[in-house]
Structures are given as C-alpha cells and as structure tokens.
Amino acid sequence: MSIEITMPRLSDTMERGTIIKWHVAEGDEVTAGDVLADVETDKATMEMQSFDDGVVAGIKVPEGQAVDVGTVCAILSEDDDAAAGDQTQPTAAEPAQPAPAPETTPSHVEVIEAAAVRTSAGGSGRPDLRITPVARRLAEAHGVDPATLQGTGPSGRITKKDVLAAAETTQEVAAAVPPSAAPADAVPVESPALAPIEQPGVPSTPVSAGGQLALHDDDRREPVSGMRQTIARRLVQSKQEIPHYQVAMSFDMDALVELRSRLNSELAEYEVKLSMNDLIVRACALAMARNPLMNASWDTDAIVYHNRVHMGVAVALPEERGGGLVVPVIHDADRRSLRSISAQTRALAAKARDRGLSPEDMEGATFTVSNLGMFGVDDFTAIINPPNSAILAVGATLQKPVVRDGELAVGWVMKATLSNDHRVVDGATAARWLNTLKELIEHPSAILV
C-alpha cells in the first residue's frame, strides 16, 4: 500500500511551500517522525515529517520548487509489517477539505441586496423632497401631497407638524382628486343647497411679463391651503399631460324637465326630491355602460377598460369654510336607481360640507360630471380629472327658442361639453357617447328603469 506525502500546511497562513532540501532519497526506509525534507513556508523554514513507516517509492517535487499545500511531494510504500493491521488509508492523500462555504454568506448577501433594492426604490421618489418618515406616512394617510408643502424643519424638512397643519385646513382633501369644475344643479331653483362654486385651473393672479409674480403694495398674499395646492398641482398635471379636446352638443330638455316635475310631485310624500343633476348623472352612467370604450383610463403603455361605472360628482364647498371643491363618487351608478343616486349625492354633499369626506367617499371615479348651470353658465369646458378619460361640463337648462317640426317654439335646452383624453377616446367614440346621452335625456323612460 502506498501513501502520498503531500505538502503540509505548516502555519496557519501557509498556502504554498518550497522544498528546500530532501533528506531522503528513493528507496530510503523511513519511520514515523523522520524528517523527510525542509520546507520553506511564508513564515520560516520548517520540517516535513513522515507520519508513517515505509520506503520512499518516489520523489515528485524537486528541490527548489514551490507547490501548493496538498500537492503530492513524495510516495511512501508501506512495508508489510507496518501495513498489517494498519489499514490506514493514505490520509495524506485526502484531498484538502475545501473551506466550507459559510452558510451565513448568502443570507448576508441577500440582506444587503434587499436593502439595496429598498434604497433604490425609495430613491426613485423625489430626491429633493426632505420629509421625515412619519410626516411622509401621515401625508399619505391624510391625502396631503408633500410636494405642495413648505417644510419648517431644518433645511426645509417637512415634519409631522407641517403635514398635520395642512391636513387640518383641508380635511377633505384626502386621496381624492379635484375635478376641473364643480357641479350645480341645472335648475337653480331646486338645486341642492350648495355654496357657490369656483372654477380652478384658471389663473387669475396677475403675472408679470417675465413670468415673475409682481407684488404690489395693496396686494394681499395669502398662503394657499393644502387642498388648493392639490387642486393646482393635479390640474396642471392634467392639462400638461392629457391631450384634451372637446365635443359639445345641445339637448332638448322638455321631456326631462316634465319627468322630473311629475316624479317630484307624485313622490313628494316619499320624500323623493330629484335634482336635474341626479337625472343627468343617471343618464351619463347608463351612457357609459352602453359605450364601454369611454369607461377607460390611460396607463402609460396600456389602456385600462373599467368594468364598473363610478360617477364622480363635483361638489363645491362653502367659501366661509375656505372654498374649494371635492368629488364624491357614486359607485356603480349604472346599477343604482335614480332614488339611490339622489340620496347618495345629497348625503355626500352634506357630509362634505359638515365634516369632510373620507378617502373611500372619493375613490375610484371612472367619469366625472361637473355642473355650473346654477350660475347661469350655459356653456363651458372642464379639465379632465385623472385617471378619467373624460369629463362632462353641464351648462344651465334654459328656455330658448327651438325649432320643432318646422315651427319656432320655446323649449328647455341644455348645452353640455365633453372633454376627452385623445390617447384613449377618439372623436367618433365621443360623438357616439354624446348621442347615446342625447337619446337617454330626450327619451327619459330608460332612465327610470
């Protein structure tokens, strides 16, 4: 049986060794403990000793040559006597055990990578925005957009205090997105008791030639509320990003006015009091259901078609409470009865005025109706409320001269303008939708069922 003599590791740091001198030659007998060679290590010249008895059968590494630890340097053949009863495997030939890969390493790497991912994810936000972690969390919960806030902390850091102050002045903001215009009932006399409406998105501040704000002595500078900042930011974004175009149409409202009047008088004892807006919202919802191509949203590289119809209804807030507007949402408006839509709109409007809407009240609109008829506005355009693809601007229902069966007559007329996102909705689609709406409004039996 032969035993391989390998380059020993003679110090804790040794990786290679050089045979300086062989003390044995082929054919020499050696006994365990004999010095076979001098080996130069990284630290010193050391002795390579034999662990077994035997005869040197071969020298594999010449003097002066450096080899890795574990390299076979010589072969020892065991004499029979030593071999008998000693079945020692050539332990020297045992391949050096590979350093066990510490199991902790992958875990650590994993952690580091996970951290890196988190970091880069976090870094994709707004690098210029300095906001404390809890302020960021609170802003999200209260629907305050941190980008609209001026931080009072060091270096403009937005703190919890800043967010809470903004949230307090604009309780209603939350996650909702302001619409382009506020609604009102088409018929001023019976419109819901909503406060006057202002139209956002129209700059009224004097702007100097250089684009710099020129401030005069008698000007009053009032910091904007969080809601106002949200309105400003979202509508600028909408106007800048969405390729708007408008399609307008006039509606013969005689049938609808007559229907509403009849229903309200017949159902008064059931406390049913429908507004013109309720009827229009219901009609729009049905039109959406019949034209699903309109009930859609742009999503960068895809168009999302919504299965359900949720109608946003712009509601103005009283000026004495700071003004502004919110958009409560009537969910599944196409599947609700007129009475349900009416009650829901009334309840949400009251809630908005009294204590503010919750985020759920303002989530998920797929289309928005804005109505300025109460101010006698007969015609206007609205800015789309992202992620909607369209918004209907409803003017006042007014008595006007109309041509009916070739005869000049007096009839109730309403003009409505549909703003569309051209990325999603083409002109013909918009026209088809308006025609569906016209059909529903002018022949309103379908609205009832």
Partner: protein
C-alpha cells in the same frame, strides 16, 4: 526609612534591596496577621511503592493513545481538516497520565490550551476530541471550542482555556466550589482536589499570583501544576521568568506547599502526586508543583523551533516517557515486545477510527451558531434582535 522603601532612591541592585528589606533599621511594627500559621508546609514525601502492572500497562496505553492522537492531529492540521491553532502534547504525556492517575474521577481538572492530553487521560473519547478539532457537531463542544477549548463535564474536565494563566483563578474556583459543596452545603469533610495545569509561561501572569494568594488564604484544595517544559512559547523560561532556576520558589511567598517532580517519568509523577493529592484532600490545602518536562514539538504548528538545538531535542527524546515505561515493563517481564506491538496497533486503530468518525460527523447546523449563548435556547435573541437569517430559520422550524 530604608532605601528600598524610598521611592526617590531606588535600590542599586537586587542584593542591596534584599538587605534593605531585612534591615533592622525598619522600625515599623509588624502588620497584623490574620492567619497565624505563617509557615510554608512541607509537601509530603514521594511514595516508593509501584502500582500493579495492570495499572502501569493502562498508563502506557493512555500515553500511547495521546501520542497517536497528537500525531494524527498534526496530520489533520496539515491536511486542513483541523483549523485554528494546534498545540500538541508530545513528550508531556506522563504529566497528564501520572497526575490524573493520582486523582479520583470526581476531582475536577482544568488546563490551558495544550489540552488534548489531559482530556484523553481523564477519559474523553478520542472520537469527540478529534471531531472537535475538525469543527464537527460530534465534537466535545459541538465544534464551537476547537483544539484549545476541550471540555468534558461528565469527566470533570473543566476546559481547555486559551488565555495564558486565565485558568488559574478558575482552578481555585473549582476547589472553592467542591470545598463549599462538601463543607457548607453537605456539611461533611472536604472530599475533592482540583488539579489546575498551567505552562511555565503562565507564572508571569498576574492571574496566577492572585490565584495562589486566594488559594492559600481560603485553604482551597487545589494543586497548581506548572508543566515546566522549558519554553514559554519560544522564550526559554529563564528569559521570561525571574527566579526560573527553581519554580517552587513561587510558592514561598504564599506559604504554599511546593514540590518538584520529574515529569518525564510517569511512575515518578504518580509517586509524588499521589501523596500530594491525598494531603490536599485531607488537609484542604493548596500546593504548587514544578513539573519538569519537555515539549517535543514546537509551541504550535507554525513554530520552527529555532530557539533550541537539535542536540537538545535528541537528548530529551531519549527520555521519551512512553519508551521509558515500555522498557521498564519489558525488563520487569510485565509485557513482551509482541504484546507491545499489538497494543500499538490497537491504539493506531482506535485513533484511526476516531479520525474516520470525526470525518463522518457533519458540520454543525447553522442554528448552532445561536445555541448555547444563553442557557435558554434563544436567550434574548427573540423578536427584532434575532438576525434575519436566524428568524427565518426559527420560524421555519416552528412551522415544521
């Protein structure tokens, strides 16, 4: 006021300092002495008897087993099966075997990092020792101690300790505990002696002197055995130790019994240690031993031994305690050459099995990393303080 006591006038040399210290001009009254004994007791005289040849043969086999274990340890180290530092016991086998042969099994022992021999002499299975060297779960410390930290509680072996001299107060503590257990808790006579092994390099550590002082003050039944192999690592004893000519002198200042023993002859070791152990047990007193021996190999595996000559090594190898006892037994007719060969083969076979067993033992599972830090398995490593990878494993296990 003498020169020696005046810090502004240091003594010119040691001689004058000694004279000054004994100067009759020092008129300070003697300090009150709590322990009025005030004398160094004499160590008991060595025995002249010889144990049965069966006992001697067992000692021979024990020494051969230690030698073979160390040879294969070195081989394993060179083959990278064993890592870290490796300090082998070749040449000093008679010390461990003779000293431990003079004790009872319940007598605690503790030593430094050159600890394989003591553990094996105390009865540790070479399999678990070898597995510890290989860093395997089957090791005596589950692969968490390594060569320098062999522990075997069942055999009353309280470690392998890596810091030079650190085990000497521990040795005093083992004796404190057995004495307290016997005398205070069980209310009976002291019935244990602790053996605390140390190298000659440890005697210059403060801990050694503090341990001797405490042991004598508190009458602790502990024997500090200086395995005086002539070198503190690579520094000859006299180069590192004042008063190296006779290490028994280290006990004088503590009024502690001391003796010198030829550590290359297991019979001598036993003959001196047996009465000393008995005396420490019955008197409940400590003692110091200057155990003269020789380390055949270097301090550790990376030691080229340039600080000593081949002639010196050859001289001591002729004193090999294994060969010495074997020759005595053969000449006394207690064993034949053939029987010795058979014994050698059996020992080689036992260690080979230990190597194979250790190789087959798995590496410790990664959970072991966090076991035994505290007595409760996870200790305070709960909730957030547990590293993520351990939390995952902990929850995986709970799910299983």
């Amino acid at each position: 006021m003498t020169m020696a006591q005046n810090p502004t006038e240091p003594a010119r040399d040691a001689e004058s300092a000694r004279n000054a210290g004994q100067s009759p001009g020092n008129e300070r009254p003697p300090a009150p002495v709590a322990d009025a004994r005030g004398q160094q007791p004499a160590a008991p005289a060595p025995l002249t008897t010889t144990p049965d040849s069966a006992v001697l043969l067992k000692w021979l086999r024990d020494m051969m087993l230690i030698r073979e274990f160390e040879v294969r340890s070195m081989q394993a180290y060179q083959n990278k099966l064993a890592g870290g530092f490796l300090h082998v016991y070749n040449g000093q086998e008679a010390v461990a075997v003779g000293c431990i042969g003079a004790t009872q099994h319940h007598d605690p022992i503790v030593t430094a990092y050159r600890d394989h021999g003591h553990a094996l002499a105390r009865g540790m299975d070479p399999k678990v020792g070898m597995a510890e060297l290989f860093g395997r779960i089957g090791g005596c410390a589950k692969g968490k101690g390594g060569s320098m930290h062999f522990f075997d509680a069942n055999n009353h072996m309280y470690g392998g300790h890596g810091i030079v001299g650190a085990q000497t107060p521990l040795g005093a503590g083992l004796a404190f505990a057995t004495k307290y257990r016997d005398e205070v808790i069980d209310e009976r006579a002291n019935d244990a002696v602790s053996l605390c092994f140390l190298g000659d390099g440890a005697i210059n550590q403060g801990a050694f002197h503090e341990a001797l002082n405490l042991a004598e003050l508190l009458d602790l039944p502990v024997i500090f055995i200086i395995e005086n192999n002539g070198y503190s690592m690579g520094t000859a004893t006299a180069r590192g130790t004042a008063g190296a000519s006779d290490l028994r002198k280290k006990a004088v200042g503590y009024d502690m019994a001391a003796c010198r023993i030829d550590g290359m002859d297991v019979l001598s070791v036993w003959r001196s240690m047996k009465p000393l152990v008995d005396w420490c047990r019955s008197e409940s007193r400590p003692a110091l031993v200057d155990m003269q021996c020789y380390r055949f190999k270097g301090h550790s595996m990376s030691d080229p031994r340039k600080y000593r000559t081949h002639d010196e090594e050859k001289h001591w190898e002729a004193e090999d305690p294994i060969g010495r006892l074997a020759r005595q037994l053969v000449s006394a007719g207690a064993v034949s050459q053939d029987e010795l060969k058979v014994m050698g083969k059996a020992v080689r076979s036992e260690i080979r099995e230990a190597v194979d067993w250790a190789k087959a033992s798995p590496e410790p599972p990664i959970e072991e990393l966090y076991h035994d830090v505290y007595t409760d398995v996870w200790g305070p490593y709960t909730g957030t303080s547990l590293p993520e990878f351990m939390r995952r494993r902990a929850s995986d296990r709970e799910q299983r």
